[in-house]
């Protein structure tokens, strides 16, 4: 196990492996998203209270899930980078931040668009789920701004990893906010005691969207980490050899 992790942490090994792995994430991800979107839009029955507006769930829930998953990846990778001084972990943390920010933005916008017809408002400042998700977006922005403000990569890695770890406290707050405080936002539907509170005709497309989005997120993250590794290792011998080799892979 340690031998495998040690091998994975090698930048040239990871650079090649990520290129091989990316299509294995992307293709099933795209297929699952295609199925989930079609079934969610046209096959699943309308909700008895929300009508067809509920179909926004098929893009909102995966976006919200990825926004938190992205932050957890960033915090864990930052922590690994700090503790074990693994350069690849810092590269993962740096690469996931823009993706996580994009899906946090998407979760906020789709939630707001869903809120207008159902709650009668685009936004409610007093709502704990909405404001904690907005704080998550600011944490991503803060993380990226901090990285961008420090020229030396090693220092930027350390400072941003500390910020990511401190900000991780917001993740359980987002998740449990609907249970801890009074909220306009509905409670847990999938991760509920006694099983998901959804009919299978609505549930399966949602699960396909969550799994497909996670796979495509993984594929896009692998591509971003490759770029980050390439940039960080630009002065190394293996990058030079790779670029000068006759079959130079991109």
């Amino acid at each position: 196990m340690w031998k495998f992790l040690h091998k994975m942490a090698s930048p040239p090994y990871f650079y090649k492996l990520a290129k091989t792995l990316a299509p294995w994430f992307a293709v099933p991800g795209i297929l699952l998203i295609a199925y989930g979107s079609f079934a969610g839009l046209f096959v699943a029955p309308p909700d008895y209270q929300q009508g067809d507006a509920f179909r926004i769930i098929y893009v909102h829930v995966p976006a919200a899930y990825l926004s938190m998953m992205g932050y957890m990846i960033m915090a864990i990778a930052g922590g690994i980078g700090l503790i074990w001084r693994m350069k690849l972990a810092h590269a993962v943390a740096a690469a996931v931040a823009p993706l996580g920010a994009a899906f946090t933005f998407l979760a906020l916008v789709t939630g707001s668009v869903w809120g207008k017809p159902i709650w009668g408002t685009w936004w409610e400042w007093g709502d704990p789920r909405l404001t904690s998700e907005l704080i998550l977006l600011f944490l991503y922005f803060g993380y990226m701004a901090l990285r961008g403000s420090i020229d030396e990569v090693a220092k930027a890695d350390k400072a941003s990893a500390v910020l990511a770890l401190v900000g991780a406290v917001n993740i359980p707050i987002i998740h449990f906010s609907v249970e801890w405080w009074s909220s306009l936002h509905q409670g847990a539907t999938l991760l509920k005691t006694g099983g998901p509170a959804m009919d299978s005709a609505m549930l399966y497309p949602l699960l396909a969207m969550i799994l497909g989005s996670s796979l495509l997120f993984g594929a896009q993250l692998l591509r971003r980490v490759r770029t980050e590794v390439l940039y960080r290792e630009r002065r190394t011998r293996w990058v030079r050899n790779m670029i000068l080799s006759p079959e130079a892979p991109a």
């Binding site: 507006a53 976006a63 823009p98 896009q220 591509r223 971003r224 490759r226 670029i243």
Partner: protein, 53 residues
């Protein structure tokens, strides 16, 4: 046609799906563009050094 109208919620539902696919596409395009730019920049620098030697 009734399906596309989404029971009167078409603007809300379709705008969310359109934004989602736009963000997926944009993320993919941006990642590809940045990778090519970084690769090309390193390639130019390395080849310039090689020519000088």
């Amino acid at each position: 046609m009734d399906k596309l109208a989404m029971g009167g919620y078409a603007a809300y539902v379709w705008s969310c799906f359109a934004l989602t696919f736009a963000i997926w596409f944009f993320n993919g395009w941006l990642a590809r563009k940045r990778h090519r730019a970084v690769y090309r920049d390193i390639e130019v620098r390395i080849k310039a050094v090689e020519e000088r030697l």
